[in-house]
Symmetry: D2
Subunit: 298 residues, 4 copies
């Protein structure tokens, strides 16, 4: 038997970039966390420590900042594509690249006397917009996404009808709190997309179906959200979800003669349910390599 180097990639992770568009007095900011990784012929550095082929991770970091300066940032999907193309097109030994970006949301501060401020901002929301772009030679895959979109329904959720098997003690319910932190990623058919418009619409569709689905299981809610997205967005090939079931347990106050008609709940940390699924079109080819290394999307 022989021992060989398998798949490998390397780069600079979590390059924190804040870009300020000052082209008008009304500044626009983008707050990003960029991870650049390269594939290619990097066997030598692994086996002998010879670094002739290695585009230094420090250089990858510098490239993030230089490309932000020379071309601006725009949608994170565009920026990740520019990063990937820069590396793959420029260096023979680089046969592919994986560029991952997280974007944090900011809104303008609304001042008492002046409305939205031109250059003062406040972080908005807990969620993060994400993208993973993979480029292998000419083939480019864009997987957009979001994490930590935390949502809750205070009614309109049931869970019953599950089998009573060994070690089952759960009681059926026709009215529970349903809460989750949506993590979702969706793969686009191509790269000719109005990314910001598409993202906003997908996010809204998720909220619509989370709110609008009378739920008999978290799986049902998840699937409705995915189906809703694919039906409205022909530019998307498939969507994946990882959704914790953030349990809220009704507090039993009967020992003290108190009813609790679904008003007082204990929000538990762990354990939690974990529901993961893919919703996909049946006429698009799979692209498993693009999903490699992404946590929590079975």
């Amino acid at each position: 038997m022989g021992i060989v180097l398998g798949t490998n990639q390397y780069g600079k992770a979590e390059v924190r970039l804040v870009h300020v568009d000052r082209s008008t007095p009304r500044h626009v900011i983008k707050d990003l966390n960029v991870t650049s990784q390269l594939f290619g012929d990097f066997t030598a550095t692994h086996t002998t420590g010879a670094n002739d082929a290695v585009i230094a991770t420090d250089t990858q970091k510098n490239t993030v900042y230089a490309l932000a300066r020379t071309g601006g940032v725009g949608a994170i999907e565009e920026f990740a594509l520019r990063m990937a193309r820069n590396f793959v097109d420029r260096y023979d030994q680089v046969t592919g690249a994986r560029q991952e970006i997280e974007e944090y949301g900011w809104g303008r501060i609304e001042t008492s006397d002046g409305g939205p401020h031109d250059h003062a901002f406040v972080r908005s929301g807990t969620e993060t917009r994400t993208v993973v772009v993979t480029k292998r030679g000419a083939a480019e895959t864009v997987i957009s996404g979001l994490t930590d979109l935390v949502v809750l329904k205070s009614t309109g959720s049931e869970f019953w009808g599950f089998p009573d098997v060994e070690y089952t003690s759960l009681v059926e319910t026709t009215d529970r709190i349903l809460a989750t932190a949506v993590s979702s990623r969706w793969r686009h058919v191509g790269t000719d997309v109005d990314w910001d418009t598409s993202f906003a619409a997908v996010r809204q569709t998720m909220l619509d179906f989370f709110a609008g689905t009378h739920s008999y299981s978290m799986q049902q809610t998840l699937y409705a959200m995915g189906q809703g997205v694919l039906e409205a967005h022909p530019e998307i090939a498939e969507i994946r979800f990882s959704m914790p079931n953030k349990h809220h347990f009704l507090v039993d106050l009967s020992a003290w003669g108190l009813e609790n008609p679904n008003e007082v709940w204990y929000a538990a940390d762990r354990p939690y349910g974990l529901i993961e699924a893919q919703v996909t079109r049946d006429d698009v080819p799979a692209d498993d390599a693009a999903w490699a290394g992404i946590a929590g999307f079975c």
Copy 2:
């Protein structure tokens, strides 16, 4: 010399309570993290393990849920006061109580076809509203607050004129990014306050002065915020801030012939500046005991 028990307190920390007001179809939710602690004559359990006086921490937890059920929640200041009064008034050995609550913000999901939803919610913002109520006998102190209000100005901030002493290498600037995560707590003169209205106004005042102050130092911005709050809110005796200076460093791209006119920044994690100060009225008595054990407010 003798060895003696000094100040002590005990209780249940981080009781996660979600309360759903279902009195109308338009549900209202409150999402709280409650920490209950008691003071009093608890020497015996420390020195001998005799627990005759000890109101079990489990009982304190149950009380959180029972009081939420019997009287609702309301403003966290009110709920913390009710908790404190319950313990101090009911048990002879309990001479005081410290009730700390964190509240997480939620907004209604705006659906595409129906506007704000009656019972579907989405977490809003990164910030947390806080309160610490301390009751010692009849004396009650309410310290309201917020944490993780993350704000940024992309211009309107300078820093220069500091002395050039040993180990100084910092370059003066007349245009930098100013960013912080505001943590603030403010002590009220009394307990007869419209808590929710007061909180919203204080928060808005902070945003107004953060945005509106042309800043020559983080200290100046901090003081302006504090002064603004005290001038507008006679119900507040003093306010304290702990504000990290979240450094954004301009990226030097000159090696590659690129100017960087304050557009491309590196957002650093550590180290960070840390600015802490109290702003206070000169005619109200101090209440140091109410601030004991609160981190990061010198």
Copy 3:
């Protein structure tokens, strides 16, 4: 085009189990975090909310505790296999299972007068031992691992010879600090392994090669560790690493006339290098499905 449910799995995540073996006065504790997930015919719950097939996640949680009681815990690989076999063998609709366990390390408290204590323990180390068992019908794959094994060499590490391309500014070095938090997972050829002995030996081999390799790149150190493990452990088919290059930058004190002969360093948080690679035997079949959803192992 049609929209269909793709791969899916569900279960209970992060079931915290502490098992105390009290069979002798010298207690033995195991501290685990168990995530149980099932695959199979669960289309109905996704598309209609009918839960007839759904083994409740609460039942999966109960099973963790019941199996710990009926058979003890033992090595986490064994316990995960027992979990997987229980579900797959017992329920027709369950065609597969994925059982993931993290184990936290504890040592005995060494008392001044009595040596290692029989029933008093202290947490040891920052690292976590891991396992992911995947069972699909009769096929079982065991991937053992560890995370957060934080190691550092204060010399014996160089980095030079990389190409000077666009946006390169990094200076070559022949003496730097090399530091990382090793995350590694390795897939076994079969399931007939003395798991605890194998784990301890793999961990020691990693430490030996991290310490013993004069390093010209993090990649070289990584590969040496992987090669060392595979050479010594025929029971292992392949091993994967995700190793951040935790940068330590030499502080430039020359402005104040101070040399710094590699003594005073700034430990940076972000960005960091990220080096990921697989080392594998060339005569064992791949098993990509077993690695799906595991973060950070390209």
Copy 4:
């Protein structure tokens, strides 16, 4: 009424310093997180933004590194004292300083063939050693400490005899798991101490009394630890503890005919008990100002 600036301090937080003593081939490393803060006459920067008096936080950071270079690091108490004296003695406007340091533990890698390695290290333990030095003019206070010393007893802990009052439902027990993450800080009488020897002995005393005390309450264990420390260490004036009661709940398996004789436990996250107390000598003056801003030590 007037509005005035109250207590204030500012500085650079979390300066990450790794010092390598290379004076022999057997390197010695220190891994620190340093927070430097100054007090004094800094009113102008608050009220007008005039920075004439402000020793820049960047300068404070440089000083950390420069002092590490010129005098080495040694015990963190010594290093913090050197930092404080440097600032207070050198600058008229600086009337005081607060220097806080966290130290992370490292051990040598034990290689298979060579024993402890000269320059390869592995992080040890979860705990952090701490110090807060406060200097006001000539007065210096040293508060040493540790955090996250996680300990557990699998037997030898009882809890009963507490009153059965309103909302009490807890059941008495004569055998439970007792677990905590010890956070403790202790104030020294003076500054003429062999810091490393004292720290090691205090830590060992804590472990001895945690392990050796048959416990009827967490308070009793806490007090025994504090009393043990003060009895053995005349150099210490007082000691404070913040100890979460990390609950482990016995899993009820009776529904399936299974006994559970204290073997299978659920380790809960939240809520947790929180026990805080001071143990002090009755013949030393208090020094409340030195404790201001330290979280969680009532």
